[in-house]
Assembly symmetry: D2
Homo-oligomer: 376 residues x 4
């Protein structure tokens, strides 16, 4: 008879009152009952942090820390059987680097929101600290079952040689000046980094394209804009892409596409077939063939790759959403913690992403000139 | 400072190896970290039950019971602070009545899969046992945010007087003779009840229509079929509906609509507006007006009723699915356990549903004659 | 070198000021430059008829007749090379029988709107008059390329044995009392016939289902309603269907489905595959398979049957609409006039359709009892 | 009583055996029975031209000319009442300039396919020849009713100040080396001009964006590719756009997007609202608002502008397609011939389009550098 498996224990940085992504991380991490929140540093203010832990998360007072530094110290003193095993960093971008660096130094595995750091240099530094520790960068859209299917189709050569790869991520929530917690840090260079829209969502588009196609951007030409007056960072932009191997593409991203929600989509065309996916209907993947009707592959449905089937919790016809996709990353992370392969976005993706963001900003600042992305 | 809230403790009946809906219940119940599984009777066979509890759910041996009777006995002996507070019945239909009756007699709140029992008589009996205990019947589709919006629109009179209300639930998974655990009990009259397709999914369609419109079926005329040879129960059917107040409609349901997944949809038209919803795109609700363009309301989006907004976990544009809708029923159940209103399908829905199923079967057996549904 | 082909010459009954379908017929008949309008009796009032012919259609005065009787007389006196060859009857329903009967007696081929007559008896009478003359009944939806594909798939056995066949035609334009030319005759029993909604659009649904599946309705049970007060004829209804051979289905039709346009759709499921088509996206046909992803076949696209390809005027990706589908019936009619096969709805469809309408009305009037449709 | 209106008489250049767009022009021009083909020069080879005229178009031999020069000469000799009034140029691109120049010199109005010429210089020359003659450049997508609605919404200020305007036109038919009449001239610089994909369809995208938004491209940066080996012209590309007034955008076009049909779409976002349209569902226009549900406006439907209503031939719910949109341009052209306003793409659009094409090619050839489009 199989031994009883204990749940993985994790701590949370961020997720205090008014936060959004912290609660998502927790639901995703716990969805399959494989992990449980045991401690946290939930807010920048130590008092608020401690109160959030007890009020929002019903944690005992001694596991509600004032700062992440205190958390790493405190947890390290606990016996291994109670100590947290990994930390989730779900705080604004400027917290990612110090928190992740401290976690790695203290020997904790890390799950971190994207973008991984404020700069490529910081990401390189993290990489140097990683050692054998696991690092999950939550490019959560890669967790959708139909994205697994898309990646599998490309990997199996079903699309042939890729010619065109494009992504678009249009939001409208910052079309006007917005005064809330989510908006304020995302439009503040000190907390968000050098890019606004492209740090927040353009980087998702880049990662998703890379993830599905396996292609690497060699050169890019970016034209960023800031449409809402008084804003410091880009809120819209378009980037031409030249991939190693000859494929071409474009990434569009906007936070001012009035009325759009999270309209993320990708289109990839090879010399044998094409595929199209949109987060609006995440459970459908359109596959286009040159000489027969196009088909729609569905989460959990017939004819899928094993990878895609494994990413569905429910039989076909039970819509799975954002949270389930997010939880799929955690499922893979847990598999890696148990010694399995690391099949999820990690620090390599973080390095590539920070390079992308920095070069997008540099290109645009130089008048939308072409820039090269050095080989990683 | 607010007091720490403990999680609700629940037991699970069903959910052993090869089961589907048991795992769904657990994920849904625990999604918001408001409840935790503490015990169960997971399979009809006592040994398998106990092993499932330890292997699948990592429960201590003493909380893994051989039968639900043993569970109610055992849990009743525990101190209140450890004892389960409600039981989830996620076993085949024939188990619903004895398990629910035993739970109510033992003083436990109940969450039960639909159809509530094998017969209307059993449902009446349960009702007599309920007393002050809470009873959630998991007509889970009512949990979708856009169904809340639909119900709110009707309740606010935006559609005017309803004239036409129709629902369709088409599946294809039983288009051929299927030999697996899910199929075998659903096609067996002893375990599924008098109706196959209409017990399993037709009853969802009825409940969803009633839930959204508030209308009650007064008369119906049902024509059921069994298309796959060797099958004892209906696998397809159409039912004409006459509602109290004059509205008319139709319910179609099939398990042999080859290639369909869980294609549940409703359409409701009043004298002022109409609405259409489909589970294929559960985050969209189409609202049709006579004199202006039709609109699409979206989960978490602008212009929604408070009820619909409250049913969304995430901001607009983050697709929510089957599991989140299911969890919404649990969230309402927990609110009721804490003394709030009981705003979810319960035993009244169960009585109405069993009456519907029995009359559908009776009508069809009589050659698709009209039958009246007595006032409840 | 091929001989020059002259255009077919036709007369038009109906199509005067304020009419809708007359202009459609003309555009459809002339779309491929295979026919030309040469005469007409355009309105019930002789003066208005003659003025319409000259003003709306720029015809010479001597070919603008006061009545259809005058037209048949007048045209018969012309030399064969100038005389009209067929007549299009695009007037309200009560005109169909006398005009068609007169045309057939005078030796003219007939194109007639549906329903073919006011009663089955009239249709039988027409059939007796037909002789070798051609008769096109414009069930225009059968002309869509993707309907040809659907019919071809069924005929080729790709769906296997049909189990479920359903159609829905929902309109909202009569949701309120409407005072215009189109509405007034359609709601008047003397001009529309015994059925309102089911004569006007329910009959299209029946024809389309029969056309695609080849199935014949054996028994039906109809529940019709009149929701708008003061109206004499049905404006909504649902009909259960039992087809010869065992398939079951349902037809829903409404003119009071508030906010709907011409939402005609069919769904057909066999034991091997299913298909779904909707006039909202007429250039797409969904084909569902039990064991592979569903596919979307497109007008003019890859993988189509020859029949479907022949029905597309343009390469894939150029949307074809209502008018093109209508013109496809004319193209087939012209082929028959030249001696080809009669592959279009004709008097047999008219007989079947009138039988359907009469039995729907009879069934509903008897309290929605089952009625048999005698073998034709 | 109104005078009888004669039909406009036109000649056709192109449209011989194997041609595609010639037949489209004819159907579109004649759809409303406002015009008729009276003569033509149908092919480059004089014998084939004359035979096509007699066999395909049933024209008398004396109106089937060997060359367009002979046609202009011959028609000029006819009495005004029989002479053609305008010419349709539906031949490969290299024929546009000489044919249009000759027509204008001979005093005939012109309808011409896009791109208007092989070079901007030729377009300038045409402009000098135009005088009072009418010139319709068939950017046919501008004829869709929902494009009229989009343009009306922008013009009425409903979108506010435009920030982002993007268009995409993806085809897959040239994903492989294709050997047919349509493909051969489109990939031949001598007959197609300096651009392949961007001359053929990128120019449509530019025109549609300009038409709807009224914005003018000030600077662009183009990255064109030729993916199919042996091909001389671009078959794919992406272009960054900077509009006068500050809006930004991107145009993507491809002939090698494997499996795509004519997937033309535009998205425009202002500071008050956004709109999205796709030729796949040309009868729907999505309008997105920041603070209420998005709406879908429909051809012929409720709530439309007068311009959009005027562009629909049929009531809402009767799908209109490519041909009807094309015919709408002709309807406007005929109105201008009768003295009305010239509300259609003309030589100004041709000049702007040729400038766009030349600058796209220049930008790409220079390594995708930014280029300015001089004020017209």
């Amino acid at each position: 008879m199989a031994a009883v498996k204990a749940k993985f224990r994790f701590g949370l940085i961020g997720g205090g009152q008014g936060a959004f992504i912290g609660a998502v991380h927790r639901m995703a991490a716990e969805l399959d009952s494989r992990a449980e929140l045991v401690c946290g540093a939930f807010a920048a203010d130590p008092d608020r942090s401690r109160q959030s832990g007890q009020n929002l998360y019903q944690l005992p007072a001694e596991r509600c820390y004032g700062t992440f530094a205190q958390m790493f110290d405190g947890e390290s003193l606990l016996p291994e059987s109670r100590r947290m095993q990994f930390v989730i960093i779900a705080a604004p971008n400027h917290v990612h680097f110090p928190a992740a660096a401290a976690a790695l130094k203290a020997g904790f595995h890390v799950v971190c929101d994207k973008p991984v750091t404020l700069s490529l240099a910081q990401a390189v530094e993290l990489k140097a600290l990683q050692g054998e520790l696991k690092f999950l960068l939550t490019h959560n859209y890669t967790g959708y079952p139909m994205i697994e299917e898309a990646r599998s189709l490309v990997a199996a050569g079903m699309l042939g040689k890729i010619r065109r790869a494009q992504a678009s991520y249009l939001q409208g929530w910052l079309a006007r000046d917005v005064d809330n917690k989510q908006a304020s840090w995302r439009t503040d260079p000190r907390r968000a980094g050098a890019a606004g829209c492209f740090g927040d969502i353009g980087s998702h588009a880049e990662n998703l394209l890379s993830h599905v196609t396996g292609l690497r951007i060699q050169r890019l030409c970016a034209d960023l804009s800031t449409f809402v007056s008084g804003r410091s960072l880009d809120d819209d932009g378009n980037v031409l892409l030249q991939f190693a191997g000859g494929a071409r593409g474009v990434i569009s991203a906007s936070q001012v596409a009035c009325g759009c929600e999270n309209d993320l989509s990708i289109k990839v065309y090879g010399d044998k077939a094409g595929l199209e996916w949109s987060q609006r209907e995440p459970n459908s993947l359109i596959v286009r063939w040159p000489d027969k009707p196009f088909e729609i592959r569905r989460t959990g449905g017939a004819g899928l790759s094993n990878r895609a089937l494994a990413a569905a919790r429910l039989p076909a016809g039970h819509p799975e959403g954002y949270l389930e996709a997010f939880a799929n990353l955690y499922a893979k992370f847990f598999a890696a913690l148990e010694g399995g392969a690391e099949d999820y976005p990690g620090l390599e993706d973080g390095l590539r992403g920070m390079n992308f963001i920095e070069q997008v900003v540099a290109s645009s600042a130089a008048g939308a000139h072409w820039v090269s992305l050095d080989p990683e």
